[in-house]
């Protein structure tokens, strides 16, 4: 059966496209909880911290809002990595959202890895509104990891023999 190519990871803009020719720059999507990590990311800005521009933050009200289908979509549409960030367990603005998220995403992450996804491509972190440094470090770390992995190709089967 012929494999229909889904849109592969294309660099987001002409600027990154230019660099992509020389070195791979990943596109990373970060779902961030409004109450904690999003504030933490704002604080990183206030403190003029510096981190790679590869990460795009998508604001959600709570990590419990993150549907695993969003993650699959992001990977299918061309993100090379997805990060979900929420409040530390016990600190959820909505009492229990991150507890549900923790269960869901633990199971989901294992399922993705079971089907062969590299663990680095989908990660979950708890980052509070005061942990600007942790946000920066996480972005740097995840960026480095995914840069090392190379682009994610959702529509192409890897050429590994099953018998090999």
């Amino acid at each position: 059966m012929p494999v229909n190519e889904a849109p592969t990871a294309s660099a987001a803009t002409a600027a990154t496209a230019a660099t992509a020719a020389t070195a791979f720059e990943p596109t990373i999507l970060a779902f961030c909880c409004h109450w904690c990590t999003y504030s933490g990311a704002d604080l990183a800005g206030l403190n003029r911290m510096s981190y790679p521009a590869n990460v795009r933050v998508l604001r959600v009200p709570c990590s419990g809002r993150v549907n695993p289908q969003f993650v699959l979509t992001a990977l299918n549409k061309g993100c090379d990595g997805v990060l979900v960030c929420g409040c530390h367990p016990g600190d959820c603005h909505y009492v229990s959202g991150n507890y549900f998220a923790r269960r869901r995403l633990m199971a989901f992450k294992r399922l993705l890895e079971f089907t062969g996804l590299e663990p680095e491509r989908f990660q979950v972190r708890w980052i509070s509104g005061s942990e600007a440094g942790k946000f920066r470090d996480t972005v740097i770390e995840v960026c480095d990891q995914i840069r090392a992995l190379g682009p994610y190709r959702s529509g192409v089967s890897d050429d590994v023999s099953l018998n090999g």
Binding site: Q69, A107, T115, G116, S154, V160
Partner: protein, 305 residues
């Protein structure tokens, strides 16, 4: 089971079905009847007491009937033949508010595992079955333990009379987990590439009771309709995520799949993880909804930091 056991059970089933229909206790009986080919059976829907003798029970009643009860309930109370898998499916649908216990009348049948009509060997789904006998029923036809725990051991054809350990139940999962990631990717890419998106898996699944499946909804970005690797992976993984914490492990999806996708390995991966991580109960053992992703514990394992 032996021929005489099967005949005795068939007789008992027909008599019970006839009585239930004649007395008006139920409007329809869901069971199996002989198909067109040798050893083949198909689900049967009997509403006329005179037709009750069409029902059969034996080694080749491969369909799990739970889901069929749902389609029939509009007609009135539905009698359903249940073994372990069928009864857990019924429980699951009750837990999901899709069915009331009062809407069904459960005819418990012993089961020693069903065989593939083509090869005569035990069905894959029955080899890893942990619950042969009905976990709930209104009437039990035949001895409860014919399949189960001691009665059937005399019957050499029952290959699974032994208790299935978690190790056996999760053999396929454990095997894949041990593979290198690239190999796993290759294995599932090959499988997802084969998927023709016929949705037989969802049709047969007692947990798939949405009014309109997410793949059929018109929602921007939700799920592409293309038949390609990326979209097929999206479909299959989402399907597992939707049913994984409720899967009763009847194996119907995998049996129904015309392309031979390892769907139960995917389902069981989640079942196994939820069990080991969150001490999840086996689904469908009771009418209670205890889906592991619908609750949480403050003391849940913390690995995200």
């Amino acid at each position: 089971m032996s021929l005489s056991t099967a005949e005795a059970l068939t007789d008992a089933l027909r008599e019970e079905a006839r009585r239930l229909l004649a007395e008006g206790t139920v409007a329809v009986v869901v069971g199996w009847e002989a198909g067109r080919f040798p050893n083949q059976t198909t689900p049967a829907f009997i509403s006329d007491p005179e037709q009750a003798q069409r029902l059969v029970y034996g080694d080749y009643c491969v369909n799990t009937l739970a889901k069929y009860a749902l389609g029939e309930k509009a007609a009135g109370k539905v009698a359903v033949c249940v073994r372990g898998c069928d009864s857990r499916g019924i429980n699951r649908m009750i837990a999901d508010n899709q069915l009331l216990r009062d809407e069904v009348y459960l005819l418990g049948l012993p089961c020693s595992g069903m065989k593939d009509p083509a090869t005569g060997s035990l069905l894959m789904k029955c080899r890893t079955c942990t619950e042969h006998d009905a976990v709930t029923y209104d009437v039990l036809l035949g001895p409860a333990t014919a399949a189960g725990h001691d009665g059937a051991s005399a019957d050499s054809s029952a290959g699974d009379s032994e208790h299935v350990s978690d190790e056996q139940r999760f053999t396929a999962v454990l095997g894949i987990e041990e593979m290198a990631p690239e190999k796993r990717r290759a294995l599932f890419d090959a499988a997802f590439n084969k998927c023709i998106r016929c949705y037989a898996c969802r049709k047969s699944c007692p947990c798939c009771t949405c009014r309109e499946c997410f793949v059929d909804q018109l929602r921007a970005g939700w799920q592409g309709k293309q038949n390609n690797l990326a979209e097929n992976r999206f479909y299959n993984i989402t399907r597992v995520f939707h049913i994984g914490d409720r899967c009763i492990e009847c194996g119907e999806c995998e049996r129904a799949c015309p392309m031979g996708l390892p769907l139960m390995a995917l389902n069981r991966k989640m079942v196994k993880d939820l069990k080991s991580l969150f001490n999840a109960d086996d689904a469908g053992m009771t009418e209670e909804n205890s889906a592991a992703l619908g609750r949480y514990d403050l003391g849940d394992l913390e690995e995200f930091m």
